[in-house]
Amino acid sequence: MKRTQTLWIPFQLLTYVLMLAALYAIFFFAPVEKTMGVIQKIFYIHVPAAFLAYLAFFITFMASILYLYRKDSKWDTVAHCAVETGVIFCTIVLITGPIWAKPVWNVWWTWDPRLTTTLILWFTYVAYLMLRRSVKENQRANLSAVFGIIGFINVPITFFSIRLWRTIHPVIITSRGINMSWPMKLSLLITFIAFCFLFFSVLISRIRLEQLKMRIEEINDTMDDMNIGLAQKLVKGI
């Protein structure tokens, strides 16, 4: 416990530095793309955010299974916090995607399999958060875990069904092929690593917050009992 505590501040500092490095790489190191122009640089946010969103929901999936198996509330906390972080990154994907698409392909939205699956993913995990708010506390962890499992399993099936649907209709945008020179690849790598650090910073902060909240609740409950005992003692003493 102590060791992870002392590593935490350097970790966050490293995140900050890496994000600055990424910004530098995006704007001054990576060349401007020939056909799309400056707008292509959104790609450096869009791709890592998408990967991390899916990673977050995979973490939820594994944590949900571990929770049902071990019944340790730590896993429920991890699952729940990963969903929150995942929704944040998924929102970023779904906003940067259309902002990129509009000037380049003149449409805000395409029913592209990847973008559509990501939209459904977003809805699924917002539904997870709604579920947590609606059910009673004693069942919350169990039900969330089941939904976390179902939600993730649904992703590949959804992707394939949408892809099958789109191959029958002519697709406006066929591929996002971008010829990447090595400075671009390096910039992508730097940004990707920076976002990974950011992701885990946010996730771990959220988990620690949640654990702190749970411990305070525990203390409050014990306090109430203690106070009652204490108050009774005081009353008897009068």
Partner: protein, 225 residues
């Protein structure tokens, strides 16, 4: 054998309580009828509607009406306080799930038969020559969405805003079923060959099997207190 008897007992219980009032089946049929009519107003003159579009309308009617039936599947149990009794029975959770699923599936199928009839009239769709492939698609699709609907009905049974929560949980997960069912129905109604719907049928079968398996593994946790 005991498993089948237990299953029968629960299904029979649901059937009897429904036949006393016939409330659910009547409202499901009326609702799907209403949905079909409303879509006519939504899309203007309906005579020349694309087959693909009316396949979509049909399935929207199925799903929305089916949801009202699904909502009641566990809600009634909770309201009448019989859910505890059901859990206390020496019956495996999956038996309860299957029994509920079969009950809802049968009611929904009755509603769908009625809906297809109305649909063929209102939208001038020729259905009779395609009855077998259509029946297969409807069977697989209905099984899919009633299976996940039953799981989520159990999950949202104890929640405050249960019907809304059921819908919110249901729709993202049911996307593959809806896409596959609508597309294959459109193909069939257009008179294309049966072979063309094979990929969609594969998706439907995969979906059904996967979610039946998931319910088998997790339903016990849903019923735990």
């Amino acid at each position: 054998m005991k498993f089948v008897h237990q299953l029968e007992a629960i299904i029979w219980k649901d059937f009897i309580s429904e036949f006393r009032t016939k409330e659910m089946i009547l409202s499901m049929c009326l609702f799907s009828f209403l949905v079909l009519i409303i879509f006519n107003f939504a899309f203007g003159s309906s005579i020349n509607l694309d087959r693909g579009m009316i396949a979509g309308i049909l399935w929207v009617a199925f799903v929305f009406s089916g949801l009202t039936g699904l909502g009641r599947s566990f809600n009634l149990e909770r309201d009448r306080g019989t859910l505890q009794g059901l859990i206390l029975c020496p019956v495996s959770p999956w038996t309860i799930f299957l029994a509920k699923l079969i009950g809802v599936f049968l009611f929904t199928t009755v509603m769908e038969i009625f809906t297809i009839f109305i649909f063929s009239v209102l939208y001038n769709a020729t259905v009779l020559p395609f009855l077998v492939p259509l029946g297969l698609i409807v069977f697989l699709g209905t099984l899919g969405f009633t299976a996940i609907g039953t799981i989520f009905s159990a999950i949202s049974a104890t929640a405050k805003a249960r019907d809304v929560l059921l819908s919110i949980l249901f729709f993202p997960i049911s996307v593959p079923v809806i896409i596959a069912s609508v597309k294959s129905t459109a193909i069939i109604l257009n008179g294309k060959s049966f072979q063309m719907i094979f990929p969609w049928l594969k998706i439907l079968v995969a979906f059904d099997l996967i979610f039946l398996l998931v319910s088998y593994l997790t339903f016990a946790y849903i019923l735990e207190e």
